[in-house]
Amino acid sequence: MSNADELLRIEGIRKTFPGVVALDGVDFDLRRGEVHVLLGENGAGKSTLIKMLSGAYRPDAGRILAGGEEVRIHGAQDSERLGIATIYQEFNLVPDLTVAENIFLGRQPRRFGMIDRKRMEAEAAVLLERVGVHVSPRARVRELGIARLQMVEIAKALSLNARVLIMDEPTAVLTSEEVEKLFAIVRRLREDGVGVVFITHHLEEIAALGDRVTVIRDGRSVGQVPASTPEDELVRLMVGRSIEQQYPRERADQGAALLSVEGLTRDGVFHDVSFEVHAGEVVGIAGLVGAGRTEVVRAVFGADPYDQGAVRVGGARLPRYDVNAAMAAGIGLVPEDRKGQGLVLDASVEENLGLVTMRSATRAGLVDLKGQHEAADRIAKQLGVRMAGLGQHVRTLSGGNQQKVVIGKWLLANTKVLILDEPTRGIDVGAKVEIYQLINELTAAGAAVLMISSDLPEVLGMSDRVLVMAQGRIAGELPADEATQDAVMALAVSTPSTPTPSEVEAGRGR
């Protein structure tokens, strides 16, 4: 107990929400200068646990000890006083303030009652230097990419002299290069004696960065193991069973070209993008964040306009910038931003599942609610959505189950070409495999899948063909057997010049 190195100890924490026991008897401890990984499926209770430490929730039972003394954390001020800083998946930054202002928000250095901009910016520059990011303290946060936002968050935590840094899936939104940078920073913090609570779904990151692992399953801590534990063992602890295969792609027979994209261009964003997707095929789109992948698929779906080129489904050209025409032709889009674009969070599972089919289920202005209910019930069962009932608000579902709802609404609409943009971001291993199975079922039924993913093993494991985008162009195309991490990365960082390399010929369709 009286370990001098112990920063934080949690004993028998319990927390219930109406109808749900979120946490039940969780033990956890954190020492100075270690990276302690919290592992668990989505919905296991990791987020609830860290919200206790940041003061967002109060436990119903159990104790929290800081430095050996029992403490109560009733709000952000309390946790700040205890030196606990949390970096959530959604950043707490004000877009229209500068980097320096964000770092010192509410604590800006003052002189004669005025904010001392010079000193604030100088201090911010020191912190940014320590984090190892090259951003001007005077830059507006709105202009920064997601990786840099995270660095600003870390700098902010450092400015608070945090002794405990909690990071909730910090790598989920980063490219592999950025992940390396982040790891370097975390290692440096560890050397400085900071205790880091690290949440991730990427098992390979545990061995690379972690010291100890606490696994949480269904609201209970089921084990504490060293970070060197084999991945299979970790998965077994996490899901309570072993997962046979991480990427269970079953290849279907390839049919006719369902979707063909010809010379699609939006000035300054993407250029001369051409490819085809055939029935029964999974085409992956790999590339660095910012390569224009999301922009291309949104234009294909009609969610955004484009300047030149054409999108054809089954030979018929789709009108530009028309979501409804794309849907009528059988295209569906599972957007990158699940919460912001894919779901009506405060509506029920049933309503979200019925969103796409609502129009076709309408006769004389009236929605066939009974039919909609039956369809939702059927698809929810088929997808194995874990919920209290069809009336549950999707906001309260875990990430994996939310994603199943988004995919489910397109399945109900008999989608022939399903575009998945980062389908498994922030989703735990168990749910991932379920989504992969779904992709298999779709292609087996003759549909085509176009999948964007920043998770390279996933693209390689699930795609029949991989398109690599770089700087708004298709840098190359690799068949599944030639696609390796190295080959994809080489293309992703290349600078594609005028017309795309010869590899793309197969996909040209001109």
Partner: protein, 648 residues
Amino acid sequence: MAAETLKSSTGAGGAAAVRRLLLDNGALTALIVLVIAMSALSGDFLTTDNLLNVGVQAAVTAILAFGVTFVIVSAGIDLSVGSVAALSATVLAWSATQQGVPVVTAVLLAVVTGVVCGLVNGFLIAYGKLPPFIATLAMLSVGRGLSLVISEGSPIAFPDSVSHLGDTLGGWLPVPVLVMIVMGLIAAFVLGRTYIGRSMYAIGGNEEAARLSGLRVKKQKLAIYALSGVFAAAAGIVLASRLSSAQPQAADGYELDAIAAVVIGGASLAGGTGKASGTLIGALILAVLRNGLNLLSVSAFWQQVVIGVVIALAVLLDTVRRKAGATPVAAGTGGGKGRQAATYGLAAVVTVAIVGATSFLHSGSSSAANPKVGLALSTLNNPFFVQIQSGARAEAKKLGVDLTVTDAQNDASQQANQLQNFTSSGYDSIIVNPVDSDAAAPAVRAADKAKIPVIAVDRGVNKATTDALVASDNVAGGELAAKTVAEKLGGTGKIVILQGQAGTSAARERAEGFAKGLKAYPGIQVLAQQPADFDRTKGLDVMSNLLQAHPDVQGVIAANDEMALGAIKALGAKAGKSVQVVGFDGTPDGLNAVKDGTLYASVAQQPSELGRIAVDNALKALQGKKVEQTVKVPVKVVTKENVAGFSG
């Protein structure tokens, strides 16, 4: 969801079900608490008649609010509904009464007006990318302006066949209540069952997700605002038929009541949630509150404070309950203890607040022996009427009369509600100072039917019997004002006229008097006539503007002292020297200005005298003594020479 509207009225499915319903619906709890509190405090509250009154008084707000529910559920806002209601009613009355259009066509025209206004809103928002707040704020102004243009500022009589919408069916069921229920069912049906209704929730919940799921968001928005326009038109027609006249200034500020009703009913201004049943409860809460406070004779000024506090508490109750219950829909089974405690705690706070406030503000215990007289004033936002009130109060005290004063805030329909409350709670006599002479008629006729003597003060009531009219003659006063300024200027000169609030009878009659009086002086040139709404600030603004255009002005006639005092501010040192200002009313401030010499003269009515004589006559009438049909209170021109003899 269509069934939920009914649930609120037929919640007799076992005690557990009732308890759950209350816990799940903070607004309903608040309504029940209010009803219990009001029944405990006033014996007149829980009678069939009065409850139907509450229904009638809620009807217009509720119908408007149903329309606004659509808009708020889809994460928009509609500020224009009050104006659109007035415009639709005005179009109906104008086309049927003045243009001879068949009534059916006129009703259709009114609805089309509502639709068009809604479509314009929707177009500006969906295709013009204007924020809903701004687009509908613009329509608020345009709608009000157009209804004033069409009606030329005067109320227009409503066709009789449509006015039946304001009557009662079978002698007891008021048609407005029926219309409210029908519109409520339609709203619940639209929200719960139709494609557009379900789209509202999706668009309000997440517009981008809705668009990417193939909903035609822009077209839906057009339809949503058009629907709101239709409901506004319906509300306008009901409002005008209750008053038997279409008032261009009707429903002013009702958009805020409607929004409050929707939010009290549990909708979020962020969109995605809201129900027709909740909106109905919200509208009922507002109506119960106004009705109850009238019955309890709470001072008119304190009423506004209490209403504001209760709105805040009702919404607070709901948010606390929601927070405690995390997910209102999913957690339908029972609920945590904290949540219950929070609900009960807040309910207790609300009760204590209401009971405390009302008993504290209760204007003295009403002993049964004293006769009860109600005084329904058009406004208390003007010293003139405040003086009527004080004159009446003083006389009532002297004669041993229990006097209850209400303030209609220049809203004819609110006044109709207040008169109705007097009638239903069995007052012995009613004194009315009509907001509008035509619009007060139906409520006065109801009082006549209940054999309650009615005395009109300051303004008459058309098409209804009053036992006496206590007034000073506005037209004659206007003539006097014109004569005074003309003679001071020696029969030649350039003047401007500041008119009263367009659409009020006092403004019309005084303007008529000015015109009559000036006919005798062809040498007087009227440079401009502009309305300044009887308001001192507006008088200042309008006069400043006029001075820019006409620096050579020599005289000002203002339709009341407040505007005259505003004009004097604008004139600065010129007032009383090179420019002669004549006001109207003889208010204390006005008389002071006359003493100082900045105001040359005021046509003094004697407002406290009006109040005194009105109470006098009311007492005579209820004792069965004979009263004169019209009691003229003399009007006098007050100048520096004779100002000492006046005290208002």
